[in-house]
Point group: C2
Chain length 481, copies 2
Amino acid sequence: MEVGICKQDMLQKKKNAVLVDGVILNGPIMDSKAGEKFVEEACKIIMEEVIQKANDVTEKVCEWRAPETLKKILDLEMRDTGESHQKLLQLCQDVIQYSVKTSHPRFFNQLYAGIDYYSLVARFITEALNPSVYTYEVSPVFLLVEETVIKKMIEFIGWEEGDGIFNPGGSVSNMYAMNLARYKFCPEIKEKGLSSLPRLVLFTSEECHYSMKKAASFLGIGTENVYFIKTDERGKMIPEELEKQVQRARKEGSAPFLVCATAGTTVLGAFDPLDEIADICEKHGLWLHVDASWGGSALISRKHCRLLHGIHRADSVAWNPHKMLLAGIQCCALLVKDNSGLLKKCYSAKAAYLFQQDKFYDVSYDTGDKSIQCSRRPDAFKFWLMWKALGTTGLEERVNRALALARYLVEEIKKREGFQLLLEVAPIIKERMMKKGSMMLGYQPHRGKVNFFRQVVISPQVSREDMDFLLDEIELLAKDL
Amino acid sequence: MEVGICKQDMLQKKKNAVLVDGVILNGPIMDSKAGEKFVEEACKIIMEEVIQKANDVTEKVCEWRAPETLKKILDLEMRDTGESHQKLLQLCQDVIQYSVKTSHPRFFNQLYAGIDYYSLVARFITEALNPSVYTYEVSPVFLLVEETVIKKMIEFIGWEEGDGIFNPGGSVSNMYAMNLARYKFCPEIKEKGLSSLPRLVLFTSEECHYSMKKAASFLGIGTENVYFIKTDERGKMIPEELEKQVQRARKEGSAPFLVCATAGTTVLGAFDPLDEIADICEKHGLWLHVDASWGGSALISRKHCRLLHGIHRADSVAWNPHKMLLAGIQCCALLVKDNSGLLKKCYSAKAAYLFQQDKFYDVSYDTGDKSIQCSRRPDAFKFWLMWKALGTTGLEERVNRALALARYLVEEIKKREGFQLLLEVAPIIKERMMKKGSMMLGYQPHRGKVNFFRQVVISPQVSREDMDFLLDEIELLAKDL
């Protein structure tokens, strides 16, 4: 069924100039040679200033400037006429110089860090191809890749089958799960809405990610209907407290429908006891969602996957390979145990212009109608290429090393006097480290305690030397406090 | 206040090897030189196979393979051990070969197309820097750029002030607007949810994007509470019909809160009469949202901005520069007229670990709490760099040319006999053009009419020769039908 193509057929034949509405329509108007040259020159800057410096600890993590100062340095205004390539390349240099180097070995500020060369190449490819993932017709490769990656992630969760979709962030994945659980609880909400229904209630730990509240608000459930469950001193949900709250909700006449457990909380990195929580969910007929956005990658490690023991009993899981596995922001999957088409039933709007049913191929590959988005980025692809490059054992090594480094740091902190006291001055130390640019580290108050630093270890470029540096640097910055 | 940094300070000092949990922690484990070489080699492939071929009409738009065939060609499986660089580069080649070339001058299939070299460079920069846009501390440049771009877009809408945020897609922007209108209507929905409230009702045209139904379902409003307003033969909402439906909703005892007008409908490209719709919204106290995802870019053209006459009266606008302006997927802004902090009040969850109030800089730059996302991509940046490069006049030229080409095509179709009849065989012609790879063009049925082709003109690489080719090619492919 292949149809030959004659190159001559497709060549543009020169024609007389046509003028419509004052516009000459013949020939393209872009100077593609100049454009390609610009891309080449810019790529050289990116290579030298970002990629080759990613591992260089002698570079600054950030070149701090206050907002008003930075506005003056960058020429932000867009004008009627364009700038020269030379000026634009200088702008690119400036953008790079004053941006935070999140791939620097001493960027410990967020739950992502480091650089993965394979994922980066995949991202360059998709930016150049500029695809949108909704139909097989326009995204054949990326849809097959997404299917493959989702299958593999489902294997690591331990389900026999399932479904899934990549989303713009773990917060959005959590929203998907909440809406899916609600649809399962009462499918007619899709058409009728929540008005005149009993109050829907969901449960999650007091250490959960803030996206739970955002989701409850966005989905029309209301933040007051998120019941926060007490945690133990380590930050894990206490199953007995969950049981109590479910019973309380029932007594109130509200409609419990969902428990969100967390595997890797944002501040303390705690893993909720999934098996015990799953027992309670089964008993009460509640959907179990696990927000493993941060901790999910531990599933890849045979040594540490026990942290998520019981996750195979979940109905849905959010897992972000852009965090501990370095797949690049954003790379976030929602995985669903159901394989009866629940995701599609819950989300479909059946747009006739996109999801025609009379296509000449198997339209079950047109997965766009499982999404709240129309255009959607091929985020699975960068994870796939990285996985191909490193193999499962390479990914496993990343997880094992990150957890070993964390353990090393804990032991070293215990050896150093004064670190307990330092906590009260976190904002001052933070200001000093930003202005020096030596490292970046986040802080926050927690449960009535004063501000403390949260050290995040992710990147394979990080070593015990960086852990030692971290402690020395905090001591140095706080010497006079 | 600058603090000097001594490079020597930051150098890693060699230390004795430390073994924790079976992992040696000294030194980084990645071979960065090999990684950099891989990136360089892959960039060469991207340059030659994607970027330099983007304007070449003798290349195929797509290399069609059925799903099962493509699965065999691509080695999709992820294994325990990684692949060699040579194998990976071949994989990259294959991915490119079998992906649709959305930047090909004859890709007319979707509401995006073409290549913009400046936007592409911006995307390479952000992929290399891997930022997330929520706090000034980690994204100083990208937050200032977003603020600047939003201000400029607001100028073109014609508001004196306003607010805004870039989102992962126009569908999500429409959801934001719907939730914002609801919050404005009844702020306590954020905490209490919709249960026990009267039925909220919104109005949009029957030609609106399918994201309206998705949004109503996701937000717990329910698809039945989207009242679809009749359109005229050109696809524009009929204001008298809107008035009738608002009155009907009031009589039913439901609570109308929002009208979504469309500026550039998906299938017919119709622009709703915004001024007359704004009159009705004012009369009834309804929020006016304009989904200008597709048509918003016409605001840049002094010749065509009259299509959106009255848009300054809207309360919110969705506008995707990744469509007609070629900013690259995704680049989607929601603009809001309110400047009293409504966006933040509606969306904030005040996460203490991210949005600390005791920071050493003005935390009003930490805009992350206006979003339903936590990690968020710096999508404004590519639009900004492109705008800097082309100037407003360059952007205007793109819009003017696209509309002139569309007009040219209409005139040419009128001259050709038989084009009316061809419509019934759209799926067959589509199959033939995909397998030949000569161009890509979307089709759909509409209002009881049979399938017809929707020709989308966007890219500045497209010329009248391509319009002529399109008509010749359809005739050729359908010769025997």
